[in-house]
Symmetry: C2
Subunit: 150 residues, 2 copies
DNA sequence: GAAATTTCCGATTTGACTTATAGGAATACT
DNA sequence: AGTATTCCTATAAGTCAAATCGGAAATTTC
């Protein structure tokens, strides 16, 4: 599995929206300014997220985006699968893929299934809310360090 | 982390060589025939593996390749890192990468570090010998199933 | 209802990288 | 000498991610 820039942008945007949950609608340009993501590219991404039911949107003046579920109900795994596809590092692992000539007896494949499961175990458990907390915790610890340094 | 075709070919070739460990040298064409890998492409891959010390080679008539270490001393992780690069699913996770603007406080990054560690945990532990055993075990179980089916 | 703002949509371009091929040089055996 | 094999470099071809462009549809404001 590879997380593309698209997937990274999606996560960053969602974390941004999670940090602003219940503060009304947030416009693309707000996110662009904060996260330094190409606007037109982000546009496409947000539409995907919206069509998948993760976001809610409104057009026109005063419009924008907001999370359609609480931040603790959206996992990173869900996002990455939506944007970048299956978590498996090898194509033949994903179901419905029949290219592997010796699929049934392929030992390599079975290892990659293990990797996929281990990855899913993590990414399906971590939510946007967790990311916010981690980020916050890190910022605080960093502030402490700065204190000592002075 | 994404495993490219190149990486997959490398693993397949190495497993092939592991299955023929201590049976003398094996030529590119032997592997090509068995594994259905483009010959000239495989050539480049084997050279990389050789230069990294995984393989031993000999030119001319009767030449070929063989593992330079026992199959249980070569891990899949070592191979993938060599061919396809770092195991992290996100660029900013790999050491020496300074592009992430908010690197220190980036919660996403810390999750990806977890994924990288979990992946490495598996891939660095599984060796070519393990793959051979898994493949063998699967083939046997498959044979049993065939028996019942008749 | 006209104008302004914002999301929505599709096509297209650009660039980088993976995949593969081509041609020959170096080496080793018979 | 001749043949078989690995080794090396260049380059073509194909694929896909990343980004841009231009405009359509919806919503609010005046």
């Amino acid at each position: 599995m590879k997380i593309t820039r698209k997937g990274e942008y999606a996560m960053r945007a969602l974390v941004d929206l999670a940090q602003n949950y219940r503060k009304g609608l947030r416009q693309i340009q707000d996110i662009v300014r904060e996260e330094e993501i190409p606007g037109k590219f982000l546009e496409q991404i947000l539409i995907i997220l919206k069509n998948a039911g993760l976001l809610q949107s409104k057009r026109g003046i005063g419009g924008g985006y907001s999370l359609n579920r609480p931040p603790d109900k959206i996992s990173i795994g869900e996002v990455i699968r939506l944007i970048d596809g299956p978590l498996a590092p090898l194509g033949c692992v994903s179901s419905g893929h029949a290219s592997c000539s010796k699929e049934i007896t392929c030992g390599i494949r079975s290892v990659m299934v293990d990797v996929e499961n281990a990855t899913a175990e993590i990414l399906d458990r971590v939510t946007l809310a967790d990311i916010c907390n981690r980020t916050k915790g890190m910022a605080e610890r960093r502030a402490e360090y700065q204190m000592y340094y002075i």
